[in-house]
């Protein structure tokens, strides 16, 4: 069986027992959770690396004033809202938005089914691109079109850096291949365009706003609420940053749901009609930037997630990167120039051509790559076979099955217990990926029944309708649809030894609450620090600090004589609340809610950026831009 719990070993001591029963001598010798004493120092420093919750991080972050200077005439003539709200109560439908790494998609529940909304270009998915210019910001197709002229102004891949530290190895590895420049901003990442810095939250907000526009145009009314999806394996900071992006785009997030779960909802809704049999699905979601694997059981409308696993840094773009790297020497040989050297336009052309080549390899044994006037008027052409493609991307393909194995192990299942593997995300079109899955699940069909690009948004729309009361009473198809999601990462506290003591293991169905009892680590200790972490590593210094507080008022007793019950509660939205008290001491209860409003941006930042965005939206509406 999987052991999702960190090993607690003997040098952190004491037992774990109920508060009011001193006669119960500890039962759990190996389980020893002990709080770190206050003045210990060293291990706290060790863990300060990854915090996003510390005052340092949450203090006002002074980005240079980032608004692209918009013309001043966005005054009263543009101010009146385009759509009337019939009443304050009526918040309109809750749309579902799949905010993807490379493409985004919006859907709404309409006429008894989720319905994908096309954007103003008639496309059902919109590139997650934004292009910043002195007089305007372009999003989607427009931004990508601008990129061929001004590649350094157009940014994408915000999802790959959102909520991540600058020092993150995955960020550092990708840097070289991006045509835009990324800068460090107080330890986090920001896109640099000229002298301006744009946070990934801001860039995502523009994309979300664009999706909102499409929905508003389609429905003819203002949209206020949305269900937004994130990769299942996103950590708390990444989820939070996504929420901040929604706030900037003036969207109230009804729920953040995991992409594979959303896809399963879309799939399951079609499937379960009139079919109450129990089914076990494995959703394999390989998108532009992330891989997510989720195993869930469908039983008469109840979607119970059994386990979820993934790789937040594996997706179609990585395959593109490998192709680019592969062709670079050839480009140099043919054109005589090293285009990595500050030749953003050429790099973009090559990357686009590599993408086309990759797509072509999904239906042909070999494909050609042709770029006219790649650099200095010289053309580039070459070809690639599937076999060679597999060879080039070998290291990526190897990582494709790892999360599948992990998810199976966590769900305590074997491959033959999976009834169907559902493929989601554009990159599952890669032939070799499909072969790998077929080998993993011999004799099982890989379901491609739902559109891999749209399933996630459709699922989000289903959940949106489910959460909006008006629909719930109306639509019989949604009755009984219940999504039982899980915590993607283990949650726990740090012990005096610097080890992680897990209180809620990963893949626990939420809402959930659990209490463990800890003890004082030193004689006559008066305070205890409670540091809350998420992650799977044995030592907390390798996990992520979510927050901490100090519990005062410990009675002066010998080591191990004071009992401190600590309870962790995760609600249906995934918000963690930690409550600790000293057993038998009145008034010592301390409470910490790991705020969903404590991201990398401050409230001020968010408000300021939201204003800029609102102004931009009005401008776009008035001038029919984007």
């Amino acid at each position: 069986m999987a052991v999702p719990f960190p090993e607690l070993d003997g040098d952190a001591l004491e037992s774990n027992r109920r508060p009011e029963s001193p006669e119960d001598h500890g039962f759990n010798e190996e389980g020893i959770p002990i709080l770190p004493d206050i003045p210990t120092g060293a291990h706290h420093e060790a863990s300060s690396g990854g915090l996003f919750f510390s005052p340092d991080d949450t203090e006002s972050r002074q980005l240079p004033p980032s608004p692209p200077p918009l013309p001043e005439n966005t005054g009263s003539s543009l101010d009146p809202p385009e759509y009337d709200l019939s009443s304050e109560e009526d918040v309109g439908p809750v749309v579902g938005i799949d905010l993807g790494t490379t493409f985004s998609c919006v859907a709404v529940w309409e006429g008894g089914r989720p319905c994908v909304i096309a954007n103003n270009m008639g496309n059902r998915t919109t590139p997650s691109w934004a292009s910043f210019h002195s007089d305007n910001v372009f999003v989607g197709e427009a931004a990508r079109a601008k990129a061929s002229r001004n590649p350094q102004c157009a940014v994408y891949d915000a999802k790959r850096v959102i909520g991540r530290k600058w020092s993150d190895t995955s960020v550092q590895e990708s840097l070289r291949l991006w045509p835009f420049s990324l800068a460090e901003h107080r330890g986090n990442c920001a896109f640099q365009i000229g002298s301006q810095l744009y946070t990934p939250e801001e860039v995502s907000a523009y994309v979300l706003a664009k999706m909102k526009h499409a929905a508003e145009d389609y429905l003819g009314r203002k949209i206020k609420k949305a269900v937004v999806t994130v990769p299942a394996y996103f950590n708390d900071a990444q989820r939070q940053a996504t929420l901040d992006a929604a706030t900037i785009a003036d969207l109230e997030v009804a729920r953040i749901i995991n992409e594979p779960t959303a896809a399963a909802l879309a799939y399951g809704l079609e499937k379960t009609e009139g079919d109450d049999s129990l089914q076990t699905l494995l959703v394999y979601d390989l998108g532009g930037g992330t891989l997510d694997v989720t195993i869930l059981v469908l039983d008469g409308g109840v979607f119970e997630v059994k386990s979820t696993s993934g790789d937040t840094n594996l997706g179609g773009q990585d395959f593109d990167n490998k192709l680019v790297e592969h062709f670079l020497p050839e480009v140099k040989a043919q054109c005589g120039v090293d285009i990595t050297d500050n030749k953003a336009k050429a790099m973009k052309k090559l990357r686009d051509a590599c993408q086309v080549l990759k797509h072509n390899l999904s239906h042909s044994e070999t494909a050609t790559i042709e770029v006219d006037a790649l650099i200095n008027g010289k053309d580039f052409d070459s070809s690639l076979s599937r076999e060679k493609f597999v060879e080039i991307t070998h290291s990526l393909l190897e990582r494709c099955l790892k999360p599948v194995k992990q998810a199976l192990q966590d769900a305590r299942m074997s491959a033959d217990e999976i009834d169907e593997a559902v493929l989601i995300g554009g990159s599952t079109r890669i032939v070799r990926v499909q072969q790998l899955l077929e080998e993993m699940f011999p004799g099982k069909k890989l379901s491609k029944k739902i559109n891999p690009d749209e399933a996630v948004a459709m699922g989000a729309a289903i959940q949106g309708a489910n959460l909006s009361r008006a629909y719930e009473t109306k639509d019989p198809r949604l009755v009984g649809i219940t999504l039982m999601d899980v915590t993607p990462l283990s949650l726990g506290i740090e012990l005096a030894s610097g080890k992680m003591s897990t209180i809620i293991p990963r893949n626990t169905t939420i809402p959930y609450s659990h209490t463990r009892v800890y003890k004082n680590n030193e004689d006559y200790q008066t305070k205890a620090i409670v540091e809350v972490f998420e992650g799977e590593e044995k030592y907390t210094k390798n996990n992520r600090l979510l927050g901490k507080f100090t519990l005062p008022g410990l009675p002066p007793k010998r080591r191990g004589q004071v009992q401190i019950p600590i309870s962790f509660t995760v609600d249906a939205n995934g918000v963690l609340e930690v409550v600790a008290c000293v057993s038998g001491e009145e008034g010592t209860t301390k409470r910490l809610v790991i705020q969903k409003d404590k991201g990398l941006l401050t409230e001020d930042d968010i408000q300021r950026k939201a204003k800029i965005l609102a102004k931009w939206e009005r401008k776009c509406r008035a001038e029919k831009l984007n």
């Binding site: 004491e14 039962f27 008469g300 809402p511 463990r516 309870s567």
Partner: protein, 101 residues
């Protein structure tokens, strides 16, 4: 603190000899009834937490066995391999009682 005092079996409304299938069916029925997405009643979320807790305990054979013997559903921990290095005298391990959670 949320109360978790109830007996896992009675929370799910199944007999102590219930099969995994029966436990699962009972759980899904209760989930549909109490999940806070569907049930906006004030007690629904607390009830759902109890249900999830009970199900997490009883759906894992190892945890269920532990619960049946000791009456607590604490997450299992890996046996220490360094017990000899413990520095402080240890209370002898006796039967634990259910932590009041």
């Amino acid at each position: 603190m949320t109360t978790m005092n109830g007996d896992c079996y009675s929370i799910l409304g199944v007999p102590a000899a219930a099969t995994t299938e029966e436990i699962r069916a009972a759980y899904r029925r209760l989930a549909r009834q109490y999940h806070p997405d569907l049930n906006t009643g004030p007690q629904a979320e607390a009830r759902m937490k109890e249900i999830n807790h009970a199900y997490a305990t009883l759906s894992d054979p190892q945890r269920r066995r532990h619960y049946d013997i000791y009456g607590v559903s604490d997450p299992p921990t890996v046996e220490s391999n360094r017990r000899s290095q413990q520095r402080a005298p240890r209370p002898s391990a006796t039967r634990p009682s259910e932590p009041r959670t």
